[in-house]
Symmetry: C2
Subunit: 176 residues, 2 copies
């Protein structure tokens, strides 16, 4: 891009048709492949949470790790990985939640969240919010509080922010 044009994150999100039936799927790989845009996204994430108390950053595998790890380093905050069952080697908390069809389960180490810790939950994309809501519930079960839920992209038509209420939702890019 010419230097006179401000870098727009949306220029680095590719819409792929019918990866999920009948919808545009937002592909973040062009952003990952453009370091200046990827860095801009992490910088903007940091700016958007600058006023919050953040003792931990938590993220569910796998794409959440791509944004949570650089952000945790930028903010110098401990990073808590939330994983599918059987992946974390120490003693875990487990949380099962409803999906449209069936259920899914996430796990977190029992010692990951100190009592009273304020936790920022990070993911690449907010759709219906099921996975991140499960992360929030697990953080609260562990004795922490949710500082906010932070996303690169929010699909506003799927009402994920409502599913995550009363937690604050922050997103850098919104699509209908």
């Amino acid at each position: 891009m010419p230097e006179t044009t401000p870098l727009e994150l949306t220029d680095y999100i590719r819409a792929t048709w019918d990866f999920k039936p009948g919808v545009y799927f937002r592909d973040i790989t062009p952003l990952l492949e453009a370091p200046e845009a990827f860095e801009r996204a992490i910088d903007q994430m940091a700016q958007r949470v600058a006023g919050l108390k953040i003792d931990r950053i938590a993220a569910a595998e796998a794409r959440g790790f791509l944004f949570a790890a650089p952000l945790a380093l930028k903010l110098q905050v401990p990073l808590v990985p939330i994983r599918k069952p059987g992946k974390l080697p120490f003693e875990t908390l487990s949380h099962t939640y409803e999906l449209e069809y069936g259920t899914d389960t996430l796990e977190m180490h029992v010692d990951a969240i100190p009592d009273g810790a304020s936790v920022l939950v990070v993911d690449d994309l907010l759709a219906t919010g099921g996975t991140v809501r499960a992360c929030c519930e697990m953080i609260e079960e562990a004795g922490g509080t949710v500082a906010a839920c932070l996303f690169l992209i929010e699909l506003t038509g799927l009402a994920g922010a409502k599913a995550l209420a009363p937690h604050q939702v922050i997103s850098l890019i919104q699509y209908d």
Copy 2:
């Protein structure tokens, strides 16, 4: 830690017994939860590959993303995610490889590796090397070359470096 003691990455790796039967499993979560150690690991990774030509950094989900994303930003190099089947929304290359019992498959976007690109493969841990070898083969099928394979931890007794030959293996921490 007192400031007079140099930070040792091994102090942030926890050994958990019997997560995999009869072996110590190296748990990296204490390192992720100590920003100064996590940052030191990324800095050391960057130093160890400073002499190499690196056009892309590739990593397989999920733990590989935790190190590859900060390193790609530090080196300002495009990041290529390698994923399990059905996760990448654009057209993909697919690569099936042998495991001890059965097979596994990885996918990469067809446009992720430009012809002749020199690719650094990053993961948290080198055990037998099967997954990273599959990544290397897929990168070469796509027309790229492997700059090196870089790990936080290498379990030298499992001969992963031999499995990855002739590619160069670089690791920050070695255990028998």
